[in-house]
């Protein structure tokens, strides 16, 4: 089949030939407005794609052209220019910088394309946004930077990548995340491995025609990152250094952090609990005053005169109470941290060879103690035209990071964010005597309060005895050492008849070594005389492809190109883990120093994909475009291996039509594009090793010290196969008045045979089954609108507004689920409704005693629903459709850049409108437990004195009917507005630079994560697709404010 296509293609191409006119040689030089030579600019004869030259180190070019032809000069970041040769043989062409239209050339699958020739939907990210990125991973900078893209960050830990989602939810249970392609090859590392300063461009490709060449893995969209390369310029050395501070960006929920307020609030809780249990208000108040400290483990942060209560029976704080200590964990956990980053790069080249070399160092301490990130990056990108027909190149990147993380996925005692919020502010970090003096050991070091009686008057902290996170974080080790080597090499052979053969080999290797050590001095490691573990995980990815391409121009206006390729991808991951307890030296965490082996295990899995692809592009005079692609992919994930994916696209440059002549004065460009195609998805979520062979039953092997055993880990499904996606895109690109430009796209994206982790009845013995079921659709619209409001020699002001809206609908479900749907957390999958449509209990307000009630179906004797009533028993409540869904109505960004002479200002913001999120994190502060941290909203719980309250009564003995049970009462609007980045810069005048003999100097100040406006303080809707934060560890982003300098020699 493939052979046939190739053969037909060749015959067709060879058959046609090209008439050559009589030529002459034209020489010239291309410079910028300041007279500096432009190196690497492309000079072509208009209408031809093959005849061209590239300017050399001094900006010179030489080209053989027909007399009286026109030359098109193009260079990235500059406006294209057309020059009439007019029999001249020596030209000086000055080209004008074009900051707004960065994407003259855009990266597409297996190559580059002129932006204007793209028929799919590809967005280039504004280069300022990349250059200003302070985050260790450029992923978070994409928030609000690309229409139709949602960026979700589950953790503020430096070095962690945010997930990037393109155009809604394509899959129910398989991965929805975009494919990251670095320098043309799918990348398994982390975006944080790449120094943002090494990034030349990022483009996001959203529709089928752009993505179907990546076949199986591009269903979630493609983020294409291109790193810098040498530019044949005079040798340029660039140094960039920044210094600054990092802080917690956004405030936590409004917790009662003041100690006296906390006592009063707890008193309120006890009194109301006692009242609810049947006591009179006076009795309840008396009990609250007398049992207050007892409920709190006798932690008294005040000194109270003998016989007096800390909180009086009227709920007021005892005026005679003297502060004893004020030493809360929340205060001790967070601090400002220093941040520094340096990048030095050199680039250059000659006629044959280009190079780009860089080295970077980032020291990004976090605002939470015990969390840090240090990164070294190196990159060498060299390519050489060895022979006129042979070009080779390699791009090698190495990154090494050392990070200390906090335990974001663990309980209140070990996760600092949970400790800060969930621990009562009256539990001190250190031990105190009765007078409030900090207790010290024989060496004079302060003693920690471990919750087992260290502080005088206490015996047992009601939460997490023998734990002290400050001490643990100081003494424990939780370190990750990560190495990534990423290589991209190619050989490009020019063949006769305008054929070209390229083969790329990419090899990525990552290794992460984790060293965890729980000190024998306190905490979980104490009773085991220390507990240490080591793990080593490696990921190896190789990607080998061979592409035969053809490109030609016929009769000046018929531009044709085609590619035929084969690709083989292999992935292997290995893991080794060991754990020991009983360490001889409490300060040596090496396992060699440990005694008892607790765990020793290793495993490995592989994943292979093979693909064949072909594509063809045709355009007539850059006016009419046709594009088609086909890919056949096989994956080792399914027994039913192969899937076929294809796409077609067309474009029409309306503005080039004769009938549009009259609009030429104001309409610079207008292009209509349409595309349709299919893609596949096989990415059953990684992180489960079974996901690599989900078609077999798998068993866990158990060992009790003498017997080997096995138990079912996973039931496979032999029929599992590709999830397929069909995407239709209709877009319009426009530019008018030479000031306003952008695009608007409509899309519809339909997923069939969805990979779904279907929950089963537990009694079947299987918790769930991976199946291909049903269909789902996302319809949407997205736009990007840029306006150069001011555009003159000294002053420029550009504003960009971008955004998207999409709606999601489940189209079909399996027959047996059609009627009742499939409940999935607080949502229910139902034909005709959104995947994230809430279906849960409905809060019905309070009864006369302040107890919460919920709605429930009222039934007649036959069990028929005859109406709705309310119940105070949660177990009797009924789940209902709420008419609310999690997905936002609109999300986007508003970005602006302004420059005046050497000064520049860039502001990047992002926002979201609509959607409802389930705010689980807030509920931990609304817990009725007495000894935990409380949100100040607890003051608004129902007051038996007044018979009023915003929330139900605080009753610590009520669990099954507690207000914090799942219900619609805890949904919150997910709308937000965030100021992501503001950067101010000043570039020193070039006259001064010439005097100093320096290329350029820019000084700048930049701030990340400057503000977030959401419905509730502490609530960040950007942590998951559904907006819910039940699995969020609470690691709020960092606010980084730095100053820096950029010097080019």
């Amino acid at each position: 089949m493939v052979k046939k296509i190739a053969l037909t293609l060749c015959t067709a191409l060879v058959a046609s030939s090209m008439a050559m006119a009589q030529n002459r040689t034209v020489k010239g030089k291309i410079t910028d407005a300041n007279g500096n030579p432009i190196i690497g600019a492309t000079v072509k004869v208009e209408g031809s794609k093959t005849v061209g030259a590239v300017t050399a180190g001094d900006g010179q070019f030489s080209i053989s052209v027909p007399a009286n032809s026109k030359l098109n000069v193009t260079y990235i970041g500059y406006k294209p220019q057309t020059v009439q040769v007019n029999n001249r043989t020596n030209l000086v062409i000055v080209i004008e910088e074009d900051n707004e239209q960065l994407g003259e050339v855009t990266v597409v699958a297996y190559g580059t394309k002129r932006k204007q020739d793209v028929v799919g939907s590809v967005t280039n990210v504004n280069k300022n946004i990349i250059a200003n990125a302070q985050s260790s991973s450029v992923s978070s900078a994409l928030e609000g930077a690309v229409a139709g893209v949602q960026v979700l960050s589950g953790s503020g830990q430096p070095g962690s990548d945010a997930a990037i989602y393109v155009r809604g939810i394509g899959s129910m249970s398989a991965s929805n995340a975009a494919l990251i392609v670095v320098d043309g090859v799918p990348f398994n590392g982390k975006l944080s491995d790449i120094n943002p300063q090494d990034i030349q461009s990022i483009s996001v490709s959203k529709d089928a025609v752009s993505n179907s060449l990546y076949g199986s893995r591009a269903a979630g969209g493609v983020v294409m990152v291109t790193t810098k390369s040498g530019s044949k310029e005079k040798v340029a050395i660039n140094f960039r250094g920044t210094w600054g501070v990092s802080n917690r960006a956004y405030k936590d929920y409004d917790m009662a952090t003041d100690q006296s307020e906390f006592y009063r609030l707890t008193w309120y809780g006890i009194r109301n609990t006692e009242w609810a249990a049947g006591k009179s208000l006076a009795e309840a108040a008396e009990t609250a005053s007398s049992s207050l400290l007892g409920e709190l483990g006798n932690y008294n942060a005040y000194i109270v005169p003998e016989g007096e209560y800390l909180v009086n029976t009227d709920g007021t704080f005892n005026k005679n109470a003297k502060l004893r200590y004020n030493d809360s964990f929340a205060d001790a956990l967070f601090k400002s941290a220093f941040r520094q980053e340096y990048t030095i790069s050199a680039s250059g080249g000659n006629d044959r060879t280009n190079f780009y070399l860089s080295a970077g160092y980032l020291d990004n301490q976090s605002y939470v103690i015990g969390s840090s990130y240090e990164r070294y990056t190196m990159r060498a990108n060299v390519s050489s035209q060895l022979k006129s027909w042979l070009k080779v190149g390699t791009n090698i990147a190495y990154s090494h990071t050392k990070s200390n993380g906090v335990q974001e996925r663990s309980g209140t005692a070990s996760n600092p964010f949970e400790t800060a919020r969930g621990w009562a502010p009256i539990y001190p970090v250190h031990a105190y005597d009765a007078q409030g003096n900090m207790k010290r050991d024989e060496n004079g070091k302060p003693i920690y309060d471990a919750g087992t009686g260290q502080t005088d008057g206490t015996k047992s902290r009601p939460t997490a005895q023998n734990q002290n996170i400050i001490c643990s974080m100081n003494e424990d080790i939780n370190e990750n050492i990560y190495n990534n080597i990423s290589t991209r090499s190619f050989i490009e052979v020019k063949l006769p008849l305008n054929f070209k053969f390229v083969t790329n080999y990419a090899y990525d290797f990552t290794n992460v070594t984790s060293n965890s050590f729980m000190t024998p001095t306190i905490g979980d490691g104490a009773s085991f005389n220390g507990r240490g573990s080591r793990s080593s995980g490696t990921d190896m990815t190789s990607n080998f492809n061979q592409i035969l391409s053809y490109e030609n121009v016929f009769d000046e206006d018929h531009n044709f190109s085609a590619k035929l390729g084969h690709e083989y991808y292999t992935y292997k991951t290995t893991y080794l883990y060991g754990q020991k307890t009983n360490f001889f030296d409490p300060y040596n965490s090496e396992l060699y120093n440990g005694g008892q082996i607790q765990e020793l295990t290793s495993n490995s899995v592989t994943h292979n994909i093979e693909g064949y692809f072909a594509m063809a592009d045709y355009n007539y005079a850059h006016k009419y475009y046709l594009s088609a692609a086909f890919r056949r992919d096989g994956t080792s994930r399914f027994l039913d291996r192969w899937g076929n994916f294809w796409s077609v696209g067309a474009g029409w440059r309306i503005s080039s039509e004769k009938f549009m002549e009259s609009t030429k004065s104001w309409l610079n460009d207008l292009k209509l594009r349409a595309s349709y195609g299919t893609q596949g998805n096989e990415a059953i979520l990684p992180g489960y090793s079974y996901g690599y062979t989900p078609y077999v039953d798998m068993y866990d092997v158990t060992w009790d010290g003498s017997k080997l055993g096995y138990t079912v880990a996973f039931y496979g499904n032999k029929n599992l196969s590709w999830e397929s996606q069909k995407t239709f895109d209709l877009g319009l690109d426009f530019r008018f008045l030479d000031r306003i430009y952008g695009n608007i796209d409509f899309f519809t994206r339909r997923t069939d045979d969805m990979l779904f982790k279907r929950p089963l009845a537990t009694s079947s013995g299987r918790p769930y089954n991976w199946e291909n079921i049903g269909a789902m659709r996302n319809n949407g619209i997205e736009f990007e609108l840029n306006a150069d409001i001011i555009k003159n020699k000294d002053m420029k002001w550009t504003v960009t507004l971008l955004g998207s809206h999409y709606s999601n609908k489940v189209l079909t479900l399996p027959e047996e689920n059609r009627e009742d749907g499939i409940v999935s957390g607080a949502f229910k999958l139902m034909e005709g409704k959104s995947r994230y449509e809430y279906f849960t209990y409905k809060y019905a307000g309070m009864d006369e005693k302040g107890n919460p009630t919920w709605y429930t179906d009222e039934k007649d004797e036959q069990g028929n629903v005859i109406g709705q009533t309310t119940t105070g028993k949660y177990s009797e409540a009924t789940k209902y459709w709420l008419g609310k869904q999690a997905l936002p109505d609109f999300n986007g960004g508003l970005n602006t850049s302004f420059s005046y002479k050497g000064f520049d200002v860039n502001i990047a913001t992002a926002f979201q409108l609509g959607g409802w999120a389930y705010d689980s994190q807030y509920l931990s502060g609304m817990s009725a437990s007495l000894y935990v941290g409380h949100n100040r909203d607890m003051w608004d719980t129902w007051n038996p004195e007044t018979g009023k309250g915003k929330y139900p009564i605080w009753n610590a003995n009520n669990s099954s009917n507690s207000y914090t049970q799942t219900s619609d009462a805890h949904l919150i609007s997910a709308s937000y507005f965030s100021i992501r980045n503001i950067t101010l810069g000043y570039t020193l005048p070039s006259s001064l630079m010439k005097r100093w003999g320096i290329g350029s100097i820019r000084v700048f100040a930049t701030g990340d994560n400057l503000a977030l406006f959401s419905k509730r303080q502490g609530f960040d809707p950007r942590v998951s697709m559904s907006g819910g934060n039940s699995s969020y560890g609470g690691y709020s982003p960092m606010r980084t404010i730095t100053g820096g300098i950029n010097i080019t020699f």
Binding site: K3, E295, G451, T452, S460, P462, T463, Q465, N466, V493, P496, F499, T503, A526, Q546, L548, G565, H566, Y568, T570, Q598, N603, V605, T606, H607, N608, G634, S636, S689, Y692, T693, V696, M698, Y699, D700, V701, T702, W703, D704, G705, K707, L708, G709, Y710, T711, V712, A713, F714, A761, T762, S763, S764, G765, I822, G863, Y874, S875, S929, A956, S959
Partner: protein, 538 residues
């Protein structure tokens, strides 16, 4: 030259047409293919490992993360102990508190989902084994695994029946507690029966059907064990005939089938002694080599679940929860009733057992080590490291450290004492009061040498005393809950006795037919089982 280039073109195109996709390697799990191959080479290994896997689940199964009070069967023993009269929670700790408040039964809670998943997983594992064994086989090596699988399945249904519906009969004539209001629940909906022969989702079966399944599975298992000489194996970690007999005796007592119950209880009495003397009775119940252990699990460094374990929750000398703040205590008036010369009084640190001053408001535990008791009536019955280790490390323990090795204590699932006390009770129910009294006295003399039964002469009096001694003997081991369910014993923590040490919030009074003791079927089951609707919720 031109030919050369065309050759080059052809050469370059070659890799385009070569295919080489490989199978993925899966070296993390044991795969079905390999399991099947290994089963052909060495069936015994595969079956014995499948069984070991079930044992492993029984020790450590947990469905939810970050919840340290679920760890297989022993967590049932611990959490149901919190749902009775005799165990006291000494503080308002989040973990397990709502079990203690008998308020953790609703369909959306972890508790019900966790148990359901645990026992149905056991049933599924057993069914997988039964599917691959020909029921007609006479091969003894294979029959053994059929018996174990049947036995395990019977055990799992028995456990489910305790939680998801009232007992077959709530209460009994001629006992102090009498019959419950509804009493006969044999036709009430219980749980779905899934076997190796069923296909797809199953509706709820009645209590009777479930009990028949239990008796059938365990009875067949017992018969096979007897036939192949496995009535009692030397290894207490084996599910053998005596294990099946104990569960059968429990099941027949539930359905008031006293003769059958007696038959199976007698099997244990014939095969096992009871613990005797301080060394055994005060050991700490952490050694499966104790002579009374019918069924247990050897805990080693390889399979310990640390904080998420029985001894973490129960052992006051550990560095687990019970040792560092979530202290375990017995109900004061209950301990007060234990005779002064009963050895078992030393399981509880009260002033009578330790004889120390209470003036400073601090009790001193003098049983084995000089360490302050953290609370009145603190339980020191369960010691993961064993009593000797506690004595050897007395000084370190007094300083607040745990006894080293607390996490390595063995799990004891079944003890012979249960059968001795069952036998006494069964005889009483049958009307053989003299026989019952003799059985009780013989047993009690091993605990309290001076013991003679001196309470009333009615059947009710005798059964009440047998029940009390059983509650003492099995304090904390979940037995009280099972007997409360069966005998209709009200949970009443409202006593005004000054020694009532129940948390104020937990001073409730609930009869056995109250909603609180009947777990709802997990909501996920209702939602995903095609044979169930919300109206099937119990």
């Amino acid at each position: 030259m031109k030919k050369g280039k065309i050759f080059l073109l052809a050469l370059a195109s070659l890799p385009l047409f070569t295919s080489c996709i490989d199978d993925a390697e899966q070296n993390t799990y044991l795969t079905e293919d390999r399991r099947t191959e290994l089963a052909k080479e060495n069936p015994d290994k595969v079956f014995s490992s499948a069984v070991a896997g079930i044992y492993s689940d029984m020790q450590s199964y947990v469905k939810t993360d970050n919840s340290h009070n679920y760890f297989g069967q022993k967590s049932f023993d611990y959490l149901t102990s919190l749902m009775g009269n005799d165990m006291v929670m000494t503080g308002r700790f989040g973990m397990s508190l709502y079990h203690y408040l008998c308020d953790y039964w609703a369909q959306n809670f972890v508790a019900t989902a966790n148990r359901w998943a645990e026992y149905y997983r056991c049933i599924d594992n057993a069914n997988q084994i039964l599917k691959t064994i020909d029921p007609e086989t006479t091969d003894e090596a294979v029959l053994k695994y059929r018996a174990i699988a049947l036995g395990m399945r019977g055990y799992a249904y028995l456990q489910l029946s305790y939680l998801y519906q009232q007992s077959y009969y709530v209460g009994c004539d001629d006992t102090k507690w009498g019959k419950g209001q509804h009493y006969d629940f044999s036709e009430s909906k219980c749980v779905p029966i899934v076997t190796e022969k069923t296909e797809g989702d199953q509706p709820l079966s009645t209590v009777k059907q479930v009990m028949d399944q239990i008796k059938g599975d365990l009875g067949t298992a017992y018969d096979i064990f007897n036939k192949i000489g496995m009535q009692k194996t030397t290894d207490p970690t084996d599910f053998d005939g005596c294990v099946a007999a104990t569960y059968l005796a429990r099941a027949y007592m539930i359905t008031h089938d006293w003769d059958q119950a007696l038959k199976y209880a007698q099997v244990i009495v014939d095969n096992f002694p009871v613990l005797k003397g301080e060394d055994q009775i005060l050991q700490g119940f952490s050694d499966i080599n104790l002579p009374d252990v019918v069924y247990g699990c050897d805990i080693t460094a390889d399979n310990t679940t640390l904080y998420m374990s029985w001894f973490s929750q129960m052992d006051s000398y550990s560095d687990g929860y019970a040792g560092i703040g979530v202290w375990r205590a017995a109900y004061g008036p209950f301990v007060d009733k234990i005779a002064d010369d009963d050895l078992r009084l030393k399981w509880f640190c009260c002033d009578r057992s330790t004889g120390i001053d209470y003036k400073g408001g601090r009790l001193t535990l003098k049983r084995d080590v000089m360490a302050p008791a953290a609370c009145e009536y603190q339980a020191v019955k369960f010691i993961g490291a064993g009593r000797d280790a506690v004595i050897a490390n007395a000084k370190s323990i007094a300083q607040g450290n745990g006894a080293p090795g607390w996490e390595l204590g063995d799990y004891i699932y079944l003890r012979s004492e249960e059968a001795y006390l069952m036998k006494a009770e069964i005889l009483a129910h049958k009307g053989d009061l003299a026989g019952a009294k003799t059985a009780l006295e013989e047993f009690m003399k091993t605990r309290q040498p001076s013991y003679t039964y001196a309470k009333g002469n009615t059947k009710a009096d005798l059964i009440e005393e047998i029940n009390f001694q059983k509650r003492v003997e099995f304090w904390g081991e979940g037995m009280e809950f099972l007997d409360n369910r069966r005998l209709n014993i009200t949970v009443d923590r409202t006593s005004t006795d000054p020694h009532n040490n129940h948390l104020p919030a937990a001073r409730l009074k609930l009869d056995q037919e109250s909603r609180n003791f009947r777990y709802q079927i997990p909501i996920s089951e209702i939602e995903n089982n095609k044979a169930l609707t919300p109206d099937d919720q119990n």
